[in-house]
Amino acid sequence: MELSRLLVRRMALLLAACFLLWWALAAIETRRDLRREGQGAEEIARLVGELANLHGLPADRLEAQLSALREIHRSGSLQHLDFQVEVDQGRVLIPARIHSWPKDRELGRLHFQGQDGRRFEVSLLADPVGAREDARSDLAGALLAFLVLACAVLAGVHRISRQALDQADGQARRQSLQWQAREEARRMRIEVRLQEQLAQDVTALRAQLALLSRHMADKADPVQTALKEARSQCGRIQQGVTALLKDVRDPVCGEGREALAPLLHDVIESWQDRQGAPIHWALDVQPLNLSLPRETALMLYRMTQEACSNIVRHSAPRRARVAVRQAPDTAWVEWTVEDDGVGMEAIDEAIGRGTGLAALREGIWARGGELNIRPGEMQGGSAGLRLEARLPVTPVREEWS
């Protein structure tokens, strides 16, 4: 599946989940509001009933009636409504929550006369405090809902992008591994063609040239010289083909585990044989009898081939060292190739320019490992270069698929 389609699908799911969450929060809030409004209406009805009792109230029941009204007043359940009860010329029996109020806030006045002739006056007032509290509560609810939704969206986006990146990563690793497998297959085809065609043709050609030399032994010197050079050139071509065959050949025979030290020794030996420059090579495999799964052993073999090739072609060192270590009870193998040659000034640029190191890095990454390239640490030489890689002992191919 394409990455963009995956992202759109997952984001749509995330938004749907967020909408459902918002819907649930809104439903809870609405139920709470309805319950509060219902309670307010009940309290107003109760207030009206208690106020009506003031009319014709006997003096001995005044305190009990006032207690009931105070309880309603204190309860705060009267939605947006306040009241004040006064008796005889403004003596306040139950004060409103605010001491003074503008005219426009007064909703009305009710008058009652007790049994003993006392006159009660009740002022009904609009209550801005309750309205403000409601507004604050609504705002806080909306803010909370927004925060919850925002956190959910952020967490969801993080998770989705992480999954998408992991998936894209896995796909790239798979492609890289497939590319490397194709490379190995291509090497095999090259090996077959080199061995079955080119090498045999050169062998036959050398036989024909040898035959010609015998027949032309009495010919003039230039002909003899040309034949001799042709034979010599054929010999060099054959040596080149043989060297190429060693390069491309898959050195790992079986499907099981492979001892690494002899494999790497062969690589180093081939470079020792090939170049005339006096490079002192060292190989250090710990433990010496380290054996690895075929795929990992082949990967380390190819990595060492590439690194040794780079050293001989570009580094001009006096010493070079290949080391592979697997610490006991670890699932990782550490590979280091170091030289004391000319080194690299701008390592990242060099990786970008060439294909060797970039392919090396990609190959290691595709197997779940990592490659570090930095100046060498060998004593006494030039800057040098050090390639360090960690690879999982067991191939990770299945994990990416």
Binding site: A199, Q200, A204, L211, G235, Q238, A261, H265, N289
Partner: protein, 209 residues
């Protein structure tokens, strides 16, 4: 007159060497074959002095052809002429009864000389094969060691240092080093890696080292 038979699945190579060998006054190419079965069938009713044989043969393969032909004609000299120069292939060829081994990287004249040498009882080897064989060292190199030397050889092959071996076997470091020198001289295995290769080839390591 040396009667030579050629077996190589590449017609172009057979033709080239047939022509080259036939120029020689003391040689006669009596047959050439492109596959194993034809070669085996021919040798069922004919004889030759030398068989020049490629190891990569269609059908039974070169090694099987070599064994079968040698079983029928023990006196036949077989000269392997192959692209392969790995020590394992060379060793297998000699085990199967080859009398000489030349790689196809050799000069054509070397093949002619090798045919003559093999008839005289020699065992011609091209230089690259000789080098490959020398890297294998004597198959029984470790058998020349005393029991004590053999034990130390196994520890050295497993990558133990002289100091570790001295501690483990209650020897002085100097004595352990002397053993190491003696082992190198007796086996011809100069480095730890060579010892390791020899030990793994002969299954001398059992994990207890």
């Amino acid at each position: 007159m040396i009667r030579v038979a050629l077996a190589d699945d590449h017609a172009i190579v057979r033709t080239g060497y047939r022509r080259l060998l036939e120029v020689e006054s003391d040689m006669e190419v009596v047959a050439d074959f492109g596959d194993s079965d034809t070669a085996c069938q021919w040798f069922a009713s004919h004889e030759a002095d030398v068989l020049v044989l490629d190891l990569s043969m269609p059908g039974r393969g070169g090694l099987e052809t070599l064994s079968r032909v040698k079983a029928r004609h023990p006196g036949l000299k077989v000269l392997i002429f192959s692209m392969h120069d790995s020590p394992v292939m060379v060793s297998q060829a000699f085990k199967a009864g080859a009398d000489g081994y030349l790689t196809k990287s050799s000069e054509p004249d070397e093949l002619i000389e090798a045919v003559r040498e093999i008839i005289q009882g020699g065992r011609p080897l091209s230089p690259d094969v000789a080098a490959a064989l020398s890297s294998m060292v004597d198959e029984a190199a470790h058998q020349a060691l005393s029991p004590r030397e053999f034990e130390i050889f196994r520890l050295l092959a497993a990558g133990r240092s002289v100091e570790e071996i001295a501690n483990r076997l209650f020897l002085s470091v100097k004595t352990a080093a002397n053993y190491q020198t003696a082992i190198r001289q007796k086996t011809g295995l100069a480095s730890t890696l060579e010892m390791f290769r020899h030990a793994t080839r002969h299954r001398l390591l059992d994990g207890s080292e």
